[in-house]
């Protein structure tokens, strides 16, 4: 690999989900035990109400108090459960791109960059170029098409240098053609960045495109 020569490669770490069990009002919703290697995508499938999104909320640190959960979440040697959401280094991608309407496209990307990053301006314009949106920094996100917004959201996520990524049905609101394009883009970017990723979906085509192991819930 050429990249390992020129950059001190942040070697991707494994995301381990150890005997996770989540219950609501005493009834077990789901149980998962898995390890996701760097660059790998684990797909969790299940009908709505099977607790897929709850699993993501638990890992990312947003679980509602009404749920009770047990089990460990480890990133390499780091125990994530004791950390607040913003310290876990876990990026989220939702159905909707959720670009902040009060910021420009560039502002949204800079929002993702860590405060100490160097050459923010250049990183932002490179990121936009990478997804074919070069020069759109000052645009209002509301004026972008749905597909363009999704791409900006993806780059905002990657610029924040997450250690792992959770995908919550990120393609379900796109039309068929756009869906395939975004799948290809997201999975190739994640692989390139060497990040472990967890995808929840009810679409078998998503799982196939992800190419990793699949867990069925419910």
């Amino acid at each position: 690999m050429t990249t390992s020569l020129c950059a001190p490669l942040s070697l991707g770490q494994t995301l381990r989900l150890e005997h996770i069990s989540i219950a609501l009002a005493g009834r077990e919703l789901l149980a998962v035990d898995a390890a996701i290697a760097a660059g790998e995508v684990l797909t969790v499938m299940g009908p709505s109400g099977s607790g897929k999104s709850t699993l993501l909320a638990y890992i990312a640190g947003f679980l509602d108090r009404e749920f009770t959960a047990s089990g460990g979440v480890w990133l390499g040697e780091r125990d994530l459960l004791g950390l607040p959401a913003e310290k876990r280094g876990i990026g989220l991608l939702f159905q909707d791109p959720l670009l902040f309407p009060h910021l420009s496209v560039g502002g949204n990307l800079r929002f993702g960059l860590p405060r100490s990053s160097k050459e923010k301006h250049q990183q932002v314009s490179q990121a936009l170029e990478q997804v074919g949106l070069a020069g759109l920094e000052s645009r209002d996100p509301a004026t972008l098409s749905g597909g363009q917004q999704s791409r900006v959201a993806l780059m905002r996520l990657l610029l924040s240098k997450p250690k792992a990524v959770l995908l919550d049905e990120p393609f379900s609101k796109l039309d068929t053609a756009l869906r395939q394009e975004m799948r290809a883009l997201v999975f190739s970017q994640l692989r390139e960045a060497g990040l472990p990723a967890l995808l929840v979906t009810h679409d078998h085509a998503d799982a196939k495109a992800a190419g990793g192991p699949v867990i069925e819930l419910g």
Binding site: A60, E86, G89, L92, F111
Partner: protein
């Protein structure tokens, strides 16, 4: 820190009301060492019941609260039922917050100028229809039964109840209910009354109670429009409290307790009416009648609210006309000449009251907004369900001002708290806080939680996400809540007058003070200034987010 916010808010609302009531209750039974009352006695009550015309005062206070609330509620409900989706609906929605922002006193003055024997209405139809060459000798405003007071109250209560209903409606999905009802063959207005209203009323019950409590004890409007011999109970109380004869203070305390009783009785009576209505309409709701009365209801629903809104706007226009009028003989509709004299002469006198008004309004609203934001953010972080404490917010709105403000002064004096300006600001906070909370809470809670999750997953801490994501996204509702708070503060008469010991003058206290005189031009100037200030707040609240968001389409809504 954040966790203290809800306790602080409740303390701020409950303690003053509670201690104020206590300090009115004690002197009502003769005990107030500061004024030489060392033992308990019934003398204040005996003196009170010996006052001539007391029964009449009580009756007018009781009736004006119930009648005006019932009328206003009927107007609002029929409008909502009959006008969904029409142009009228859309334009009224836009008009409702500015109308609500106009202070009671300004509406009362403007309304008085409309209906007075020499007012605009009489001029419009004279002498052609009436044959009047000079103003008729009739007691239209200040009528002994308080009819003009009730009408004035309705003008102010309609926009309030409408705004509260519009805020509560979305959670009921009225469109779906109506669609279902219409697919079952119900005509739109009847369908709305049968499927939406039964769920809407419980949501606006507290605002309705607040309206009744306010209307039974209002002071500024009653000074302008209410009867004079005898005046309403609340106005009598005010004059007794200000009487130099000390024994009147004890009687006034007893009367304040009586006022509390009158308000509670009016609320109880309303509650009984609710039960009666429920029983009487139970069969109607399910009797299957789908069309009966549709046309009549629709006509009344659309015209009544239109009429009350136009009256309020005409009242404002009347203020403007009088403030500019030069020589103006009776039956002529317009003055012979317009002049800026009254404005120029009032200019220098306006300065101090304007500064005081702005200072009190900005500080109390800023404090209230900060407290409300802290409470809501705490509620969000601790995942607290907010239902139970809600009625406490209404406490300062449900307990008559005049019943606890005097006690509050006594309490403050015995604690040695004296700076009148600080006391006035604290007093305003009591009434601003509930309104800021009510206008902000729903939107705050409804903000999509994923915005904050995205922010935090990008490495932003909780408090940074609050400042950098939540506040910018909520800038428009936040500014609106601020404008509402300002409007409430600007309109306050009694708390300013009493807590400021008459030494803190605002545009409202000065305008109301003019009521006893008869210089309509001067009243026009002051009332218009009073009405204009909150409007400026609302224009800024609407304009600033648009300015900030000229390049952000999704934020400008």
């Amino acid at each position: 820190m954040l966790r203290l916010a809800p306790v602080l808010i409740i303390g701020l609302l409950v303690l003053p009301v509670g201690s104020g009531l206590l300090m009115v209750l004690l002197p009502a039974f003769g005990y107030l060492p500061a004024l030489g009352g060392y033992g308990f006695s019934l003398a204040p009550w005996q003196m009170l019941f010996a006052q001539p015309g007391l029964g009449r005062s009580v009756a007018v206070s009781f009736a004006s609260g119930l009648v005006s609330a019932a009328l206003a509620l009927a107007i609002v409900v029929l409008f909502l039922a009959a006008s969904r989706g029409t142009w009228l609906d859309r334009s009224i929605r836009r008009l409702v917050s500015p109308l609500l922002a106009i202070p009671h006193a300004a509406i009362a003055f403007g309304f008085a100028f409309l209906i007075a024997p020499s007012g605009l209405m009489a001029r419009l139809i004279s002498p052609s229809l009436t044959g009047w060459e000079r103003p008729p000798d009739a007691l239209i405003i200040n009528d002994p039964w308080g009819l003009s007071l009730m009408a004035g109250l309705v003008l102010k209560e309609v926009p309030f109840l409408l705004l509260m209903s519009l805020a509560a409606l979305p959670q009921l999905a009225p469109e779906k209910r109506l669609m279902l009802a219409r697919s079952l063959g119900y005509s739109p207005t009847i369908g709305w009354l049968k499927t939406v209203l039964p769920s809407l009323y419980p949501l606006i019950r507290l605002p309705v109670y607040a309206v009744i409590a306010y209307a039974t004890s209002v002071v500024d409007m009653a000074l302008i429009l209410g009867p004079t011999l005898p005046p309403t109970l609340s106005v009598s109380i005010l004059s007794w409290f200000n009487d130099p004869d000390i024994s009147h203070r004890f009687m006034a305390s007893a009367a304040a307790v009586l006022q509390l009783g009158v308000t509670i009785a009016a609320l109880l009576f309303w509650w009984l009416l609710e039960q009666l209505t429920r029983i009487l309409t139970r069969r109607w709701l399910t009797n299957g009648s789908r069309q009966g009365g549709e046309i009549a209801l629709r006509v009344v629903g659309r015209s009544a609210l239109l009429f009350s809104s136009i009256t309020a706007l005409a009242a404002l226009a009347g203020l403007g006309l009088f403030s500019l009028a030069g020589f103006w003989r009776f039956p002529e509709v317009l003055p012979q000449m317009l002049t800026l004299d009254h404005w120029q002469r009032s200019g220098p006198m306006l300065v101090t009251p304007l500064i005081n008004t702005a200072l009190i309004g900005l500080i109390s609203t800023a404090l209230a907004t900060a407290l409300v934001l802290a409470t809501l953010e705490n509620e969000h972080r601790q995942h607290i369900q907010p239902k139970r404490a809600l009625w406490l917010l209404y406490l300062p709105l449900l307990v008559p001002q005049i019943a606890f403000l005097f006690g509050l002064i006594v309490a403050a004096e015995s604690l040695g708290i004296r700076p009148p300006l600080g006391l006035v600001i604290a007093g305003h906070l009591l009434f601003v806080l509930p309104y800021v909370y009510l206008s902000l809470a729903e939107t705050y809670r409804r903000l999509d939680p994923r915005w904050l999750k995205v922010a935090r997953s990008l490495g932003v801490s909780r408090s940074a996400a609050f400042w950098r994501v939540r506040l910018p996204l909520l800038i428009a509702p936040l500014l609106t809540a601020f404008a509402v708070g300002l409007a409430v503060s600007i309109g306050q008469y009694l708390p300013t007058q009493l807590l400021g010991a008459g030494r803190v003058t605002t545009v409202t206290t000065e305008a109301v003070a003019l009521a006893s005189g008869s210089n309509r031009r001067l009243i026009g100037v002051w009332a218009l200034v009073q009405a204009g200030l909150p409007l400026i707040g609302f224009i800024l609240a609407l304009g600033v987010p648009r300015l900030l968001a000229t390049h952000r389409r999704d934020l400008a809504t």
